[in-house]
Amino acid sequence: MIIMSEKEAHIEVHRDDEASKLGMWLFIFTELLLFGGLFLVYSVFRAQYPANFHEGSLELSVTIGTINTIALLISSMTIAMALSAIQKNNRKLSMQLIGITLLMATVFLFNKYFEWSLKFEHGLYPGSPLMPSLERGDLMFFSLYFFMTGLHLLHILVGMVLLTICLFKINKGTLHYQKYIHLENGALYWHLVDLIWIFLFPLLYLIT
């Protein structure tokens, strides 16, 4: 005798995947404007303190930044592939690809930790006693550096949580080839994270 739980027996009648996706896109618009606003602040102060911003960016490691960029680009590809995989009902491949995405994200986290440690060792961190003694231009650069990379890091963490939840859902069977909107939205969020970094990397690390 098979007993179905109440949840399984109940038919979902109010599901609208297109609306759900639109909702995620609307949220993405707010995120674009959020980081866009920060880029704008960066642009204005960069124009006002060109020498300080030039020196500041020389303190950042292009090597670590490049590795982070590659990691995020690969992770964007793998999460897009994971979505294609679940659409083709390839559960195992989808889970493996999400796993690789999370691995790339962990590489990013590790690099960030290493990068920031270098700064902290030199007394450069938000609220440090060294910061107020810096020239205004330097203070602006490093404040923006920590705030923008920090906010981005927060988004990486949130994205990792969302994708991990998707991973568990696929394993459990509640996310599958006929119901994958959560993975689709999670993937969109992850691409946003990559999109932001695409601009963050040249502006902070490369332009001197």
Binding site: R15, W25, S43, L73, S76, M81, L83, Q87, L206, I207
Partner: protein, 94 residues
């Protein structure tokens, strides 16, 4: 309500896109390593724009999405450009 009518992106296309993105990344790094000031900035931002377009179009699936969504996304970038322009005009005339 089944939802399996939407387009599935081919793995090959996704792989090709990431290769192009990596090439553009190395191109940016190379150009900016010459320290060409304003020219370097412009090239870097232009390439970043191309990369963003590719991510939006292929990874974020906009190429296969509804016209409504594509127009909304375009409008957000237009809005942002207007905000940037007005801010720069403000600062330029202070």
């Amino acid at each position: 309500m089944a939802n399996n009518v939407s387009h599935t992106t081919d793995y090959k296309i996704l792989a090709r896109v990431v290769l192009v993105l990596m090439f553009l990344t190395f191109l940016t790094i190379t150009v900016t390593s010459f320290h060409l000031a304003a020219f370097g900035v412009t090239v870097a931002l232009l390439i970043a724009g191309v990369k963003a377009f590719m991510i939006l179009t292929y990874f974020m699936h906009l190429k296969y999405e509804s016209l409504l969504l594509r127009i909304l996304v375009a409008m957000i970038f237009v809005l942002y450009a207007v905000i940037v322009l007005i801010t720069f005009i403000d600062y330029a005339y202070r």
